[in-house]
Symmetry: C2
DNA sequence: TTTCGTATGATTGTATACGATCATACGACC
DNA sequence: GGTCGTATGATCGTATACAATCATACGAAA
């Protein structure tokens, strides 16, 4: 049984444990340091639009807002920098990474590449049948529920869960960790875009994806994944969305 | 022209600039903070076997050895943690990530997946001809030179350069950054393994790879890349190598 | 003998204080 | 008027000091 050894947030750690299928086991609880809290807060703040892509992030301000000193904030920012969430220039400052349509496209493409690799491996290992699909099915069900309720956020969360589970089934912990690296950035971007229109279509797409996965038809899976790209990418102008958000915020 | 915005070491930044082919341009020089030095030192130390996988890393000791305070060391370790080079448990300690054969295999597989994705995109964009190949050719030449000199380390460096260039030609900065994330771990592992035997074979493989790339034959490229995996993976027992190193170090 | 409570040293997490660097603005000099 | 030197406030980088936590060892009580 592979253990990534990474530190993960408590909620995810639980989900990860559940996914192993070996029943509810004791989870060696990890202390939540202020660094972890800071990381989560920054991502959440970015996804909520409190800080917009390109915005300056001043350590002391952020530290004051979070009620901690600069040190944990700095360490959190360093970690986020290595994930590409923020960009930093020594002695000049840190800012939330600006969003360009090209970057969004690259981000999605990279994510798809990782997932495709994972899927191929999962199918090769026969992890595309039976109880292995439990988590995927649950995610789809959740997605349908949230779509019915009209909760775009809920759909987005379930969507992320689906792809995460898919990636984990590949069994390659490195690939999975890389995927996790990308996840926060996706959260931020899609959070800003409110994941607006499709909803119903998205759900259906995942149903298809799941079916193709169970059938082991890699060509179909790859094609379906690729459609994600084109839809996500050409359907929205993320730069415009950010500009719009900025205008809304700066005027009143 | 895309700018990843990441902080990179000066030497790499220069190479990156050169690779753009737009002539020697002014490089906006980046201050080298102690954090950067610490990162480099840790990776170098690990690759040189000063610290072995699984070894405890005590902040204050490392800080003393590097002649700096704990803060930059901590930040460096945070960054390396997010890259998977070290693992950390709050209040308990940080250690160099233990090496298992499975992990090495996963690492290589993930890297190959990224490179394959990049290659497909590079070929699709027509960046597999003419001056785009300059850097690749240079890397192969360097490899041949180093092989002739019998410098395993030199070959390894050139090898890394080749694959980095290949990945960059894909034009997806996210994919490239992910690849860079994996690079230090590969450096450490292959550094320990001394990259021993093949040498001549490795050089030849890259010549083939380059030819296939120029021909745009994706199937051949993929297959050649996959051979890397199996060779690297099944040819060596990394766990045994580390154990051997440890024994050598602990006894005298 | 086993188990539990407590003390102790080591190590990490966090806060504060200080030094280094940058961007900007202003005024002197040409 | 333009260019350069210099001052100033803001911000980041680093060092030091203190608090929190852990692993271990030791001893008392059952």
């Amino acid at each position: 049984m592979t253990d990534t050894g990474e530190r993960v947030r408590a909620t995810e750690a639980v989900a990860q444990e559940r996914a192993k299928g070996s029943g509810p086991d004791w989870q060696p609880l990890q202390p939540q340091t202020l660094v972890d809290h800071a990381i989560e807060a920054i991502i959440a703040g970015a996804a909520a639009g409190l800080i917009l892509p390109g915005d300056r992030i001043v350590e002391v301000d952020l530290a004051r807002k979070l009620g901690v000193s600069r040190v944990p904030v700095r360490e959190a920012l360093r970690l986020l920098e290595s994930q590409g969430v923020v960009v930093s220039e020594p002695y000049k400052g840190i800012r939330l990474r600006p969003v360009t349509n090209e970057r969004v496209s690259d981000l999605i493409e990279a994510r798809i590449a990782l997932e495709a690799s994972a899927v191929v491996r999962a199918v090769a290992a026969g992890r595309n049948r039976g109880s292995h699909l439990d988590e995927l099915r649950a995610a789809v069900a959740e997605m349908e529920l949230m779509a019915a309720r009209g909760s775009a956020y809920g759909v987005a969360v379930a969507d992320t869960g689906f792809h995460r589970a898919l990636c984990r089934l590949g069994g390659n912990s490195v690939t999975f960790d890389l995927w996790e690296t990308l996840a926060p950035q996706c959260t931020i971007i899609f959070g800003l875009a409110t994941f607006g229109k499709p909803m119903a279509g998205v759900v259906e797409e995942h149903v298809d994806l799941l079916a193709a996965f169970e059938a082991g038809d890699i060509a179909v899976i790859t094609r379906t994944l690729d459609e994600h790209i084109t839809v996500m990418n050409h359907a929205m102008d993320y730069e415009a969305i950010v500009a719009q958000r900025r205008k809304e915020r700066d005027l009143p």
